[in-house]
Each structure stands twice: as C-alpha cells, then as structure tokens.
C-alpha cells in the first residue's frame, strides 16, 4: 500500500506559500480605495468584494491544505490483495481489530475465561463502559490506555458495532461448585435476599437475565472469573458507574461467599436464544441507577 503511495507521491498534499499573488492583491485593493475616493464607480464596494474573492481563490490555489490524500483515506482505498476481507482497512471490523485481539472475533469473548463477550450487549451499556474506561471510572490499565483520547461519537459507534453482532453462545462450562453453592447463587440471582436489602439480579437485569434496555447488560454467557472480578471490582472501587452507582451499593452488601456462589451459578447457565435485552420498562427499578438514565 504504502510503497505505492510513496512512489506515486500521493501523500504529497501541498506546496509552499507564494508571495506573488499576495502583492498583486494588495495592489488591487489599494487601487480600489483610490477609485472610491475619486467616486468614479458607484459599485466600487461590489468590485472590492469580487477582487477579495478572487484574491482568496488565488491564495487558496497557491497553498493547498495539509490533508490526507483523498485516494488514500481508509474508506476509499482499494483493498490490499493480501489483506483478508475481514480486516480490510476502513471497515468496522478493521477499526475494532484493537478490541477483537482480546475479546475475540466479533467480540464473541476471549479464549482464556477472562475477556468478556461484547457481542449482543446493549449498545448504551457498552458505550458507558468505554466512557468509564477512557475517563478512569473503571480501572483496567490495558483498556484505560487503549481508549485514551478517543472521542465520544467514535466510542458510541464501536459500542453499536458490538451490540449488533449476533453470535451463537457456546454451551456453558460444567459447574465447578457444589450443589449447595449453586443453589445459594440461584436464590440470590432470582429471589434476592430481602432480609439484607438485596434485590434479585433479575429485578434489574431482566426476568431471563438477558439485560434491560437501554443500558443494563445480560448476565449469562460470561466466564465465572470475569463475573467474580467485576463484583469484586465494585466492592473495592476499581469499577464504578455513573452516580447513583446502584451496583456499588449491592456489591457492598455481598460477602465473598455470595460472590463465589453467584458467579458459579451464573456462569453455569445455558443461554436460551434469542437472548436479547428486555424492552425498557416503565416500572421503577428497585434502586436508582445513574447509568440507566445517563445520556
């Protein structure tokens, strides 16, 4: 790609400024002033405007802007025959290659049980996480560094790309916890613990735990380690959401045993497709959640 660009000189986009037209323009303007004083021409002002426009055009022609050559903009360039279709520069697949390196192709999840699935999560949820990582409310240094300086609009577009991926869910891993632990997790997830002021996960994340539009994610199809790490992150402040941070209040009440049981049970559930976020409901959530209202 680039050697062609170099030899073709297509990166060349401007030349140095020229003094000549500037002097000519000044001379023209000076003569207009004179003609006004002499009251020779009623339309002198109009002429001045014409001359000015001409001067600007001449100047623009002499100093082309510093800009990326149009034939080389990523969206317009012809694909390099050696680049696979999926990574053709300018496509969204290529733009999110920095994400899919860890999160898997189309955001279907990484292979090592930590990098979570992105595909099919609510766009606003993903967008909030990108903002939280970029602005330091959620701490994970590879993500914090990667997103540095990226504009909101682009992050929203990236979130939309992953929200729109429909990728089949793999069967869940075999439950690696005793039956009593799994039962504790199931009860917490579906019923909560009113005595401790803990609402059920399902009260916010949807009856089938598939999320709630616009910004509450589903909880199934995620690795056990990832779920445990996220709740733990909320407990110790590494993960935050927009205030009021309802998940922080809940995580604060969860014991390590609760977290172990919840993550074991959630990770062991098969995903029944179609697995899509429930429509936004008018009834109130059990807690006030800043991220559900934000933006």
């Amino acid at each position: 790609m680039l050697h062609r660009a170099r030899s073709g000189g297509r990166y060349a986009a401007f030349s140095g400024p020229a003094a000549g037209p500037d002097l000519i323009c000044r001379f023209m303007l000076a003569s207009i002033d004179f003609s006004r004083i002499a009251s020779l021409v009623r339309g002198a002002a109009g002429c001045a405007a014409l001359f000015l426009a001409a001067c600007v055009q001449v100047a623009a022609a002499q100093t082309p802007p510093v800009m990326l050559p149009e034939t080389q903009t990523p969206d317009a360039q012809s694909p390099d025959p050696r680049t696979p279709e999926a990574l053709r520069p300018g496509t969204m697949e290529a733009r999110v290659a920095a994400c899919t390196g860890c999160h898997g192709e189309q955001g279907r999840a990484g292979q090592d049980g930590y990098y979570p699935r992105l595909a099919g999560k609510p766009q606003e949820y993903l967008y909030h996480q990108l903002l939280n990582f970029r602005d330091g409310r959620r701490r994970y240094s590879p993500m914090n560094r990667l997103l540095r300086g990226l504009p909101d609009a682009y992050l929203h577009e990236i979130a939309g790309y992953f929200a729109g991926r429909q990728v089949p869910y793999p069967p869940p891993a075999a439950p690696g916890a005793p039956a009593a632990t799994l039962e504790q997790g199931r009860a917490l997830a579906l019923l909560g613990d009113p005595a401790r002021g803990l609402p059920a996960c399902a009260a916010c994340h949807g009856d089938s735990l598939s999320g709630l539009a616009p910004a509450i994610p589903g909880l199934l199809g995620l690795p056990r380690d990832y779920i445990g790490a996220q709740i733990g992150g909320w407990k110790n402040g590494l993960r935050q959401a927009a205030a009021p941070d309802c998940m922080a209040q809940i995580a604060d009440k969860l014991t390590p045993e609760d977290i172990g049981a919840l993550s074991a049970w959630l990770a062991a559930q098969a995903v029944a497709e179609p697995y899509v976020p429930q429509a936004a409901q008018s009834s109130r959530l059990p807690l006030e959640c800043g991220s559900q209202a934000r933006r």
Binding site: L2, V66, T83, R95, A98, R145, L146, R148, P151, E157
Partner: protein, 431 residues
C-alpha cells in the same frame, strides 16, 4: 594555624561571593524585555482572543493545566519527573486560586523571565526556558485568552518534590547555570526565509519541542536544545526521537509534507504518532494552521543529522532469536502490518523504515506492543484504526524476540532487544 585559618576564611569568602553572584544572576530579569509595553485593549478584541486560543493550543497549555475530565485550564494534571511530581496550577482568571489578579506584565514576567508576581522563581517544569522566546504580542494575546475563560475556583495543588528540589530559592543557582531570558538560542538568521524563522519561533518557543526531544542532564536542564537530538523522557519511559536529519532514526527520509501531515493528522507514510506524541498531536499540533505546520516542517528539515548513541547496534542478532521473532510476527502482526512490514495504507503503519521501530531505544516499540493503542483521533482522522495490547498475551521473552525481529528485518538494522528491557518497561508502566 593562623595562616590556615586565614586561607579557609578566604576560600569561604570566595565561595560565598561566587554563590551570591550566581544567585544574583539567577534572579535577574531581562531589562530589555519591554515591561509596561502591553498593547492594551486592542481594536479587534475577538481577533486577539482567537489568536490567544490558537497560541494556547500551539503551546499545548492544556496538557499540563487541565486535569483529565476537568475544567479546561483549571490545573490539576500530575507531571512525573525524576525530582518528584509537579501539579499544573490553575490558570483560569479566578482571583484567589487562578491568575485573576495578574496583570499583563505579570504574565509576561512568568513567560519571559520565569517568575511569578512578587518575584517567586518558577520551576522550569513550566518551560519558560522555551517560552522566553515568545513575543510580547503573543504573550498578551495568550493572556487575553486566559482572562476570557470562565474562572474556576480550584486551589492549585502543591508540588510533591523531594529534598532539596522542594527548596524553591535554590532555583536561582539552576537559573544562573541554565537559563538566559531572551530570543533564539542560535544565530544564523541572515538570509533565512520568513517561513524558516516562523518555524524556529514555533519549535523553540511556544511549541517547546525541546522539552521532550532534547536530552537532559542530571539537573533536568536540556542539553543543546536547538539540536533536538532526542532522548528518553524522564519520568514517562517513552523515547523522544531525534528531529534532525539522521536517515534511520531522525527525519532524514521525511519530506516537509510528511512532517506537516504527522503534525496535523497523526499519520504519515513513515509512522503513526504514539504515546506522548499522540497526545501532543491531539491537543496541539493538529490545530496548527497549514502555514505554521509547513513552517515547523521547513525548520525541522534544516536541522543537521545528530548521530545518536549506537545503543543496541552491536551486530546482527542471533538467528534463533530472529526465527522465534518471525514466527510470532507471522502469528500476531502480519495480518495488519503485512509479511513484508509494509503496513496497510493509513490504517496500520509500515514497520520497515519506521523510526518508532528503528529508534536507538526500543522503548517505544516495546510499549506499543505491550499497550497497543489507537492513532490520535484528529479532525482529519476521527475514526482511527488501532492495535491491541499484547502485554497480557505475550511473555517478556516473546516480546523481546518479536521486537528484535522487526528491528532487524526489511532493511531495518537497529539491534537486538533484551527480555530484561521488556520486563523493566512492563514493571515501570504497571498501574
């Protein structure tokens, strides 16, 4: 005995005299600098504010004076250095916590002479060593712009410096050694075109390129700042490459257009801005007018080659290491950067002949592999392509082999990279 005592007394007096002299020199102001010459309220106030806003971008004031996510210019950014952490102060016009009570002369004294109102010496983390070249007219425009900002009532955080660097009066001696207020540091104006002079003014003055691109001595002073010979950025663990005409490590193979493109878009046919330079492009140089970007390019192209230290250039690396690196490259990198290192258009830069790859220090290459990153999202490239972080996936040995391979393939000859260097960078940048 009396003779010895007398001798000691004389030596002590001479030393005291020298120190007093240095202190005097280090606290002097530039008498010829036109205090009281503020332009006053000019006719075209809007134009002045616009110029001030532009100059604030050229100087990248926000980089140090705006905290991430904070109110612009209200301060709070931490600046790590070998001497401790500086905190950029509030420069909004709040009367108590900002510069609301400053006069135009006060602002000029800070920029030109490195002194706060009342004569307090400023730490050169504020690059007045560079800003002293800024013209009075530009300083006044900057001041007018800052005065037009909404005031932020936010107390500036005290610097967190180690002894003895926290003893501010000692700055007088540093200044006596390393600071002279006034114009350009090198002569040779005769016969230079206006564009070149403008470029030098921007590079040596407000642009303060030397703050990163000139090597620093043990006391933090830049050495030969006008040569821009490159060096590690103390406190950041990124390498600022030389900007002279060296063909492998500098800008020798870059055209003026290539340089202006990198400044304005973050992309060039040779490399993509990364690390601190990506932030500089984003916050500052993308806003340069075309004429100013071209002036900077013309000036930089006039700098001579600076033959950097031949670090890591001790013959070709072992074949086994290269083979290990080639396998890793094929598996992880070739999809985007191509098997021949030619890159893919503007999406992913070439690695052949890329000065980030062939730099005397492998730090930037290693950090890009460890941390990944997106090209700066400039107005010209608002939806950039990026690279995943390989730090979580690859070992120090793997990254060393990979870096060795790309530094010594396709015509690159930059020497091997040691796993220990990767480990050092990984540890130093762990948060």
């Amino acid at each position: 005995m009396t003779l010895l005592k007398r001798l000691i007394l004389v030596v002590a007096l001479v030393c005291a005299g020298i120190l007093a002299g240095m202190y005097w020199i280090g606290t002097q102001e530039d008498a010829s600098a036109g205090y009281g010459a503020a332009a006053g309220v000019p006719a075209g106030a809007d134009t002045l504010l616009e110029r001030g806003r532009y100059l604030a971008q050229v100087g990248n004031c926000a980089a140090c004076h705006t905290a991430p996510g904070g109110q612009p210019y209200a301060g709070g950014t931490a600046i790590p250095t070998p001497f401790g952490t500086f905190h950029g102060p509030n420069i909004t016009p709040d009367a108590d916590t900002g510069i609301g009570r400053w006069s135009a002369d006060d602002f000029w004294r800070a920029l030109h002479d490195g002194k706060a109102p009342g004569g307090r010496l400023l730490y050169p983390a504020f690059p007045y060593t560079e800003y002293t070249q800024v013209s009075r007219a530009d300083a006044d425009a900057l001041f007018a712009f800052l005065k037009s900002l909404p005031p932020a009532r936010q107390a500036s955080r005290a610097h967190d410096l180690r002894f003895p660097y926290d003893q501010r009066p000692l700055l007088a001696f540093w200044r006596a050694l390393y600071f002279r207020p006034g114009g350009p540091r090198d002569a040779g104006d005769a016969g230079r075109p206006a564009q070149w002079l403008r470029g030098r003014y921007l590079v040596q003055g407000l642009g303060h390129c030397a703050a990163c691109h000139a090597p620093r001595n043990a006391l933090g002073a830049t050495r030969d700042p006008e040569r821009l010979a490159g060096g590690m950025i103390a406190g950041l663990d990124w390498y600022a490459p030389p900007l002279g005409g060296d063909s492998a490590t500098g800008l020798g193979r870059w055209s003026e257009q290539d340089i202006a493109l990198l400044l304005k878009t973050g992309l060039s046919p040779h490399s993509t801005a990364s690390g601190p330079m990506a932030e500089v492009v984003l916050g500052s140089t993308q806003h340069l007018s075309d004429a100013d970007a071209q002036a900077v390019a013309a000036y930089l192209k006039s700098l001579p080659a600076t033959a950097p230290a031949p670090e890591g250039r001790s013959g070709p690396p072992p074949a086994a290491l290269m083979e290990q690196g080639r396998e890793l490259y094929t598996q992880h990198c070739a999809l985007c950067h191509q098997a021949d290192g030619a890159g893919s258009g503007q999406a992913w830069p070439p690695l052949a002949g890329n000065p980030t790859v062939t730099a005397p220090s492998p730090a930037n290459l290693a950090r890009v592999v460890l941390e990944g990153g997106y090209a700066p999202a400039t107005a010209a490239n608002p939806r950039p392509h990026g690279m995943p972080p390989f730090g979580p996936a690859l070992s120090d040995n793997d990254i060393a082999a990979l870096a060795t391979y790309v530094r010594n393939s396709w015509g690159n000859r930059a020497g091997a990279v040691q796993p220990l260097e990767i480990k050092r960078l990984r540890d130093a940048t762990r948060e």
